[in-house]
């Protein structure tokens, strides 16, 4: 079921999901696995201890290339970086070859239109090209925006012929190393082109669980065979969107459309690390008139971690109140953290309450449940640091 009543889209791994006994749900217009027979709890814990395979092929992949100058030169990289920097507040120009950054597309009011990964081509011959990965629900709008705003400076090649497969968890590096020698020592937040047999693959060391791991862009035609090859390893199990959500929540990572949206700025979203120093000084990104004062003076409200004191989860939409019962914010993501065996949440609170250790209350089914403003991530990240 979709808003438009259109049939659901399928990823190249749709048949694989069904054969593995997945429970399928609609997500961003796609028929996606929410869980497999093991269930969300076991899938979550498996990913934290071994390696979980996620189909994230619904996300949007694209190459952005400059058309202003011949590619394969530093000038070409500078040209494509300057173009995308008109839409994002991060440092793209100084990215090294093969390096990737988390960033956001901003609207003119400084609100977040989407969050995305931007990667500089790994080879010198690819200078002038960036690899973009954006959210499934936003991809059509993102790509339309890029074409509209950057038309004449760039060409956008949407990679509808590529699947995206994530392998996450402490065993991921050993499994990927067995297919792609050198992967185990590949830098975190880097990408390189490799071959899987005759199949050209983009291997990125990144993820959305807080664990070490990889995202692998594979031609659609090879996606199922490649996934099955990974699943053949005894440490690898398929993981659905349910555990993907609880894993990223424990890792303190934003889910676009919930923890970030067009009304929230990156400063409010507590992702100010994305601003490049040069970009802040220049103030040359959309919505700078709002964002620069927020960076200097602090935002009016901010995304914080929340640890409910009891066992009751506080779900998205739960009101956050102060000791007097006055509303001070709202939960934007919340549930149960299987690794912590306790409820966890994140939400926006007024700045005065956005201090680690502050006592707040969550209105769950008419009852006021105490909670503490907590540092994130809730579960420490275990990214590869060499």
């Amino acid at each position: 079921m979709t808003d438009a009543g259109k049939p659901l889209k399928r990823t190249p791994l749709h048949e694989l999901h069904l054969s593995l006994g997945a429970k399928m749900v609609e997500f961003a217009g796609y028929d996606m696995p929410v869980q497999y027979p093991d269930g969300v709890l076991k899938e979550h814990l498996w990913t934290r201890t071994r390696a979980g395979l996620f189909d994230v092929s619904h996300m949007g992949q694209a190459f952005l290339r400059t058309t202003e100058t011949a590619r394969g030169t530093e000038e070409a990289h500078a040209a494509v970086a300057a173009a995308i920097e008109t839409l994002v507040p991060g440092e793209v120009l100084k990215l090294k070859r093969g390096a990737m950054r988390y960033s956001v597309l901003l609207n003119e009011q400084g609100g977040v239109l989407d969050d995305l990964m931007i990667t500089r081509a790994a080879m010198g011959s690819g200078d002038g090209m960036l690899f973009l990965v954006v959210n499934a629900a936003c991809k059509d709008a993102d790509f339309a925006l890029i074409k509209e705003k950057l038309g004449g400076r760039v060409e956008l090649e949407i990679l509808a012929d590529r699947a995206l497969i994530a392998l996450q968890g402490p065993k991921a590096a050993a499994v990927i190393e067995s297919h792609f020698p050198g992967a185990a020592t590949q830098a975190f937040m880097s990408m390189r082109p490799v071959m899987w047999g005759t199949s050209p693959v983009l291997l990125s060391r990144c993820g959305y669980t807080g664990e070490d791991g990889f995202e692998i862009s594979v031609p659609n035609a090879d996606a199922e065979r490649f996934s099955r090859a990974l699943l053949d390893h005894p440490d690898v199990a398929p993981i659905g969107l349910g555990a993907r959500d609880s894993l990223r929540l424990e890792a303190g990572l934003c889910l676009y459309g919930h923890d970030l949206d067009p009304s929230t700025s990156p400063v409010e979203g507590n992702i100010s690390f994305i601003f490049g120093k040069r970009r802040k000084e220049a103030g040359d990104f959309p919505g700078a008139a709002r964002i620069l004062p927020e960076l200097t003076n602090g935002p009016r409200r901010m995304r914080v971690g929340l640890k409910p004191e009891g066992r009751a989860p506080a779900r998205e939409g739960t009101e956050i109140v102060d000791a007097a019962g006055a509303k001070i914010g709202v939960v934007t993501s919340g549930g149960f953290g299987p690794t912590l065996n306790a409820p966890v949440a994140m939400g926006y609170v007024e700045a005065a309450h956005a201090k680690i250790g502050a006592q707040v209350f969550l209105m769950v089914r008419g009852k006021s449940l105490p909670a503490i403003v907590a540092d994130m991530p809730f579960v420490p990240h275990t990214y590869y640091r060499g």
Binding site: V34, Q35, G39, V40, L41, K42, H44, G242, A243, D245, S246, R311, A312, P313, R315, G335, F336, P338, P343, R365
Partner: protein, 124 residues
Amino acid sequence: MTTRYTKDHEWVRMEGGLAVIGISPHAAEQLGDVVFVELPAVGKSFKKGDDMAVVESVKAASDVYAPISGEIVAVNQPIADEPAKVNEDPAGAAWFVKLKPSNAAEFDALMDAAGYAAFVESAR
């Protein structure tokens, strides 16, 4: 001993004049791993269809409705202390509450096992 069912997937069994109430194995399976159970206070009265308890998995929260009207005389605290028990034995040891019915006719109006099985099948 007759067990009756509701369209909201609660089960009710009469034992010594008291209604023992839980959630069906089908409901437990649909929910997935239960991580939180909230039970009502002993002595509280409910009308048929009122929110009576809450059961939550990693994914979602679900209300448990009073299948019949009456007063709570006992709750199964062990399932609140260890919610995973709900998945282990939803139709037996993981009962939620015992309720003293105020209108016996409400029990008889609920679905029997065959009726419930057909209802679940039709909803697939």
